[in-house]
Amino acid sequence: MRRLMPVFVASDGRDPVAPPPGLEAGILLRDLDLLTLVRRAGSIQAPIALDLDSVEGLNPDPTAARFVIEELGVDLVVTRRPTVALRAVELGRSALLHVLAFDSTGLARSLEGHPGTPGVGTIVSPGPVLDHLLAPDLQRLPRPLVAYGFIDTPERAAGLLRYADAVVVPPACALLMARGTLPADAGAVVGRG
């Protein structure tokens, strides 16, 4: 059982990536192509999350999940496909089901397909929508819960960490966060369901 980093720094892998010193963070790779992913993954020292659906050249299916976990060392798979999330868990890693929260109806439908099993959490886009969900909606989101998208300032990130176990932020925001502090209870244990 691994602890989820409270912050993931988003990266397209073009530049060498590492969390800023002083910030307990992982790296979320997204919007890159397969060759760049293969080149970059081995050089990252921090825990790696991967937005599997955004990798050009990779079909985001269970075979791809096995490849990125076993060959590239990805720790956390972000996917919109429940079968892929479950495959990641079978392989001993964790997954976050990517839920696009555009309205309450869409959110409910997305959650119908959530496996809800230990090891599969939820990553919600856009992140700031968590501020506007009713308590019952928040409680229905399987944990750990990660906010992803449109989180550009440390204040916004800290605000969302009231609801979420982790946030995904751009490098510039991570740098600013490294100079500040996070809530004491930020972070969560992956795999608690």
């Binding site: 309205d103 109806t105 886009s125 856009p126 449109f150 751009p170």
Partner: protein, 196 residues
């Protein structure tokens, strides 16, 4: 009959009068929407093959109807589906498929293109798609975060609607203050609210 400026003006005039639109996801809310003062009803979920009587009832209550092409059952989101909705009497069609906007206009309906806010890295492409589509109106989802992200968006040539997680008057007012001309919501408490 191609959509004209008059069609769009008639639609936006309703929004000027009552910026809140009722979003229906189930038939049982129809009576409440019809009894409310909203000027436009958005049909998000319904049997797309049996829309005509539903639309007739809404028109009989002197309200306009916008139908969500991507979400209704039984209709494919393509040009033939657009023609079907035109035949059923829809005044406007909502879709995330930008390439269908010209077809919607050609059928004389107001074309509403959904702009989905996922994350900042995808915003530019989404904005480009809406600009290219030739839509009459852009609907931003989730609308409740429009006040937060409006500064990231350039001025659009077309009016903005906002829908998604708008449940309170304060949220609706904030969205209107951020530049939307109307909000779509399934929250009945807002259907009668005086937002301007």
């Amino acid at each position: 009959m191609p959509a004209t400026d008059a069609n769009v003006r008639a639609f936006t005039a309703r929004l000027d009068e009552r910026p809140c639109c009722a979003a229906l996801v189930a038939h049982e809310r129809l009576d409440a929407a019809l009894a409310s003062p909203v000027g436009i009803i958005f049909v998000l979920r319904a049997d797309g093959l049996a829309l005509r009587p539903l639309i007739a009832r809404i028109h009989a209550a002197d309200k306009l109807v916008a139908v969500h092409l991507d979400l209704i059952d039984g209709i494919r989101a393509d040009r033939a589906g657009v023609r079907w909705l035109s035949g059923a009497g829809a005044d406007a069609v909502i879709s995330s498929h930008g390439q269908l906007m010209p077809a919607i206009r050609r059928e004389g309906m107001v074309a509403i293109h959904r702009l989905l806010l996922v994350r900042r890295g995808l915003l530019e492409a989404a904005l480009a798609a809406t600009a290219k589509s030739g839509a009459d109106i852009v609907e931003v989802l989730p609308g409740v975060i429009l006040p937060e992200v409006r500064a990231l968006m350039p001025s659009l040539r077309v009016p903005l609607l906002a829908g998604g997680f708008i449940r309170t008057e304060a949220q609706a007012r904030a969205v209107l203050a951020a530049g939307a001309i109307g909000v779509t919501t399934s929250a009945e408490n807002l259907w009668s609210a005086a937002l301007r």
